[in-house]
């Protein structure tokens, strides 16, 4: 699929900076904060939209890899500007087993903080972050909207974390 020519997202938040905390709805009546996962690495997946073909392939791939992420003690979180009810229907349809967060109100606020927002489209960019157990960004990647970034980069970034960055004292205690 050809990469699209939309304006580039602003610079992604840089490696080595502290990941801004946020609290977003994961379901219509549940909220999730980034700080809930302090002590474990977090894989933060910004994507343009539920239901779109490339996003569907991308989240389906990550959904199959939850065991691998768990081995690295890591939590996977998806974020788009879709509302919580939309996420609920999408997750049910695709049998997703990780949280999809709604960057819905104010729209795109968290995506903007991470430099992962397309102003002209009003959607999150296709951006990946690996955040360590201390809340520091250790890896980032921005894909063209039409390109599924896969998971090899995420796995290499998780492999590169030190035991301390991985919070491995608690490895295996969560699933």
């Amino acid at each position: 699929m050809a990469p699209t020519n939309h304006t580039k997202a602003r610079e992604l938040l840089a490696i080595g900076t502290e990941a801004p905390d946020f609290t977003l709805n994961s379901t219509p009546d549940q909220k999730v904060s980034l700080s809930d996962f302090r002590g474990r690495p977090v894989v933060l997946v910004f994507y343009p939209a539920d239901w779109s073909p490339v996003c569907g392939d991308q989240v389906a791939l990550y959904n199959e890899m939850l065991a691998e992420f768990t081995e690295s003690n890591a939590q996977l979180l998806g974020i788009s500007v879709d509302g919580a009810w939309c996420h609920l229907a999408f997750a049910k349809d695709r049998r997703l087993h990780f949280p999809l967060l709604a960057d819905f109100e104010p729209k795109g606020e968290v995506s903007r903080k991470y430099g992962a927002y397309h102003d002209d489209q009003g959607e999150s960019a296709r951006a990946l972050f690996v955040i360590d157990a201390n809340g520091i960004i250790r890896w980032n990647h921005l894909s063209p909207d039409g390109v599924n970034p896969g998971a090899d980069g995420i796995l290499r970034a998780l492999d590169a974390l030190t035991p301390e960055e991985r919070g491995s004292a608690t490895a295996g205690s969560t699933s």
Binding site: A2, P3, D57, Q58, A60, L61, N63, E64, M65, E68, R94, R95, L96, H97, V147, N148, P149, G150, A151, D152, L155
Partner: protein, 190 residues
């Protein structure tokens, strides 16, 4: 975007433990990461057959498992069933591989057991394999290797170890890519 993405290299490389059609010293090795329930892989199935005809002995074809089991509820068991049949012989594996792609709408456990039985593998062996064992481990290992190699959906092809991101739906253009890979092939010295 170039047709072959240099950053996505097949890991692990093709070895004797892979399921392969064609000689190990063929000039081109085409690897497919596939899912037996994926409709795109179903479309690729006859195309690969045509490529094999077009390239003849120049081509070795290798199949590795990449079941998206949450999207395709029959894909994991189908992959395990093919690996179980493959323990009997390579011919049986490819017979199962073909049977699965030719019956993508009938991949319930009973169907899988029936196809296996037709290839001389008792249904009970297939059913038992679903519960876990070396075939499940192999499918899982294929999947992990695929992810590490940059597979992000199915089918994903590798040409002589490099991911092929070009068009695979047109037999002629894919065949010409393979032919030019054959021309630039250097025999391994090891």
């Amino acid at each position: 975007m170039t047709a072959v993405d240099a950053s996505s290299t097949l890991t692990p490389p093709v070895s004797d433990s892979d399921h392969a059609q064609g000689a190990g010293n063929a000039k081109v090795t085409l690897v497919e990461y596939g899912d037996y329930e994926c409709s795109y892989c179903g479309r690729a199935y006859p195309i690969v057959k045509q490529l094999q005809q077009a390239l003849g002995t120049q081509l070795r074809f290798v199949f590795r498992n990449f079941p998206l089991s949450q999207s395709h509820p029959h894909a994991l068991h189908a992959a395990i069933a093919a690996e179980t049949v493959g323990v009997k012989s390579e011919d049986a594996f490819w017979g199962m591989h073909d049977a699965l792609y030719e019956h993508q709408n009938a991949l319930d456990d009973e169907d899988l057991a029936r196809y296996a039985a037709a290839l001389g593998v008792p249904a009970s062996e297939v059913i038992n394999a679903f519960a876990g064992g070396s075939e499940v481990k192999r499918v899982r290992a294929d999947f992990r290797g695929g992810v590490r190699s940059g597979v992000n959906g199915t089918p994903t092809f590798f040409v002589n170890g490099e991911r092929y991101d070009g068009n695979w739906t047109d037999v002629e253009s894919f065949a010409s890519v393979l032919r030019s890979a054959a021309k630039s092939h250097r025999p391994r010295t090891s």
